[in-house]
Symmetry: C2
């Protein structure tokens, strides 16, 4: 299995296109169309927020209630189509109808996704004109995938795409993906928006099983600001063109697929956390020596979600008391007097806490380690063999600046 | 019942003193002694954080495991005495011993509290010298109460004290209180540090009952940054000097006492939220028309804890989608399509959302309302009669500045 530069068009039979439709932003790409040349199985996870955006409601019906395959996804940035009532759902239906007509498919084979400001209505004429322009532009090139990855960005500063290839049943299988997410990132079931394509042949049931298990350890372990979005959607489309024996049960083939999926999603989850709004550093929290995996995950996620830890990372300050404090209010139980803590980065590794109290360490060396663009804290609970990691970012002036002015 | 300017020395028989003991800060008051001239009943609530500071462990033993009265509280700022292991507990014992010797009491009648940096040890000689200086300075004047309220401040920009008087059984009963708290404020069982005194005659059991019920609707409903401290402590001392018939059961007298306690704690909870680190505005979230009180509280607290809502308030931006989003991920269920939302302040009241979608409103008027120093959002769920309020503050550059540099 290897990761390589690529995106949603890397697997066989997937094409994409993007354009500036003028939905809210002016003069930048804001509409993408992702399409499989043959019908694809779809799996997805959605936000746990009670307030669900219209595209989440639309997609959930298609992925969870219908068993048929899908053909394409229409994605816009700028307006989230959330808190838009009946009109919001009508816009999803109209989007799907427009794409279906142009592609010779049924509206029930078209998924939709939106990201941006909550509460505004999407101007339907802009979408219709955009889709008409996109269909003839569809291409299976890396450039087309990149254009789509750019069109779905909002406050993201870098596009996020990756691909992986592996061999399943003697056939090369590829997974490609793109995500966006920079603010309102604290996924619960899934991240902001993630689109994963693969040419693997796999049943819908096994596809959903692979995705549901994977997001628990990848996208669900990142946090930028503790706000679980109304639009979180992670979808995985499989069109079978790799020609491998269909994966319809657990076993070696399923494991190989899951390994590649994990590599893709871990890469993108880290990219998303590191590109958190205003962030200057990716902050990784590893919990080791835990009694259970759930305990390790709860503690790791609590630490990367703490505003006080995040500001300390912004200040390159080894303020470890805030890490122990955030571990303590996580809801997981552990013995604080057994905890050892290290900081680690490209600049070195340093033990800061031994048995719950300060270890003798050099503040100067700690500051050096914490001044890198990727910083890890490792807490050893010394009570078992389980471990977990979560990813977040520092909290800076720029997060405040971006969000105090976001709508204007 | 009326509130009046005053603090912990307002009730009969309580005296206080404060000094600059040089524990960590230089040239400012950092040590306070609060004392009842006669033994007092004590009730308290403590942090739910698994990582509990040494003074929390010390006090919990005295308040929960012993049934005897208490005489005094020693409080320091600068160092939290948390994550300090066995040595931290020895410091509590030594503090109590020093105060007990000087006051002619038993160490088991002395409570302790600390606030400041986690992980450092308190220099015991500074505390011993400070206590020796404080005992002869004890006074029951308002000035002495104010000095104590100043000594317990850390990043607080204003001291927080208040008093209330009511009549119980024909006697005037007074409650006085001081609190501190500005960062690491997301109480769960209690707030950062709150000290409440009263001359009411009341049994220990009824005192604890009154306090436990009250903090659920006051201190437990504020959030500055989502971080539940290791040191959260709220204590209530009652010395009986008002001479009212002892309150030993529910009834009219207990209700009068609870009413005054509620007024004191609501006042201080709001002051604490409004003085959140870096805050320029107090933000109040009211939920009305809820089916249950628990639902209303969960939703209100989620909204004041949202970083995206807090930055919108900082930007005077009527970004109501973030409020609905935070209501949606609170964990409480409700019908988003029924929600009405208003903003209110000294500048007016304006409906922003009707039935879950945007109401026609003037952005200019909304910005004017949101530019006041106290801002309220009111969400009506339209499903019942219950309501709740939570208090927070805006999230500004200064929160980041204060916390990226706090230790230095």
């Amino acid at each position: 299995m290897e990761l390589f530069e690529g995106g949603v068009t890397a697997p066989k039979g997937f094409c994409a296109a993007a354009c500036a439709a003028g939905i809210k932003y002016q003069g930048r790409k804001d509409l993408a169309l992702l399409c499989s040349q043959v019908p694809a199985q779809a799996a997805a996870t959605f936000t746990s927020n009670v307030v669900k955006a219209a595209p989440v409601l639309w997609d959930r019906r298609i992925v969870r209630e219908q068993n048929g395959p899908v053909r394409a996804v229409v994605i816009n940035s700028g307006i989230a189509n959330a808190c838009t009532g009946k009109e919001g759902l009508e816009i999803c239906a109209a989007e799907a109808a427009a794409a279906a007509a142009a592609l010779g498919a049924s509206p029930d084979e078209i998924l939709t996704a939106s990201t941006g400001v909550i509460g505004m209505q999407i101007p339907m004429d802009k979408i219709t004109a955009g889709i008409a322009a996109l269909v003839p532009a569809l291409a299976d090139t890396p450039q087309a995938g990149t254009a789509a990855a750019e069109a779905i960005m909002t406050t993201d500063t870098v596009r996020k795409e990756i691909a992986a290839r592996t061999v399943i049943g003697g056939k090369e299988v590829t997974i490609g993906a793109m995500t966006k997410g920079s603010g309102m990132i604290h996924p619960n079931m899934c991240t902001m928006l993630a689109f994963i394509t693969t040419d693997a042949a796999i049943t819908k049931e096994m596809l959903q099983k692979a995705l549901s298990a994977d997001v628990e350890d990848t996208y669900n372990m990142i946090s930028v600001d503790g706000d679980t979005s109304t639009n979180d959607t992670c979808m995985l489309l499989a069109n079978g063109l790799a020609g491998n024996p269909v994966i319809d049960a657990e076993g070696e083939d399923f494991d190989a697929f899951c390994e590649a999926l994990r590599a893709v999603n871990t890469y993108l989850a880290r990219r998303m956390a590191g590109d958190g709004e205003g962030a200057t550093a990716l902050f990784e929290m590893k919990v080791t020596g835990a009694g259970t995996k759930a305990q390790a995950k709860t503690i790791a996620r609590s630490v990367v979600s703490s505003s006080l830890v995040k500001t300390a990372i912004a200040g390159h300050d080894a303020n470890w008391g805030r890490i122990l404090c955030a571990m303590g209010y996580s809801g997981a139980s552990f013995d604080p007097e057994k905890v050892d803590l290290w900081f680690e980065s490209a600049a070195g590794k340093l033990q800061i806490v031994k048995d719950g109290s300060a270890a003798p360490y050099s503040e100067e060396e700690a500051t050096k380690i914490l001044s890198e663009s990727e910083v890890t804290a490792i807490a050893d609970l010394k009570e078992g063999e389980e471990s977990a990691a979560a990813w977040g970012c520092d909290l800076t002036y720029d997060y405040v600046k971006i969000n105090a002015d976001y709508r204007s």
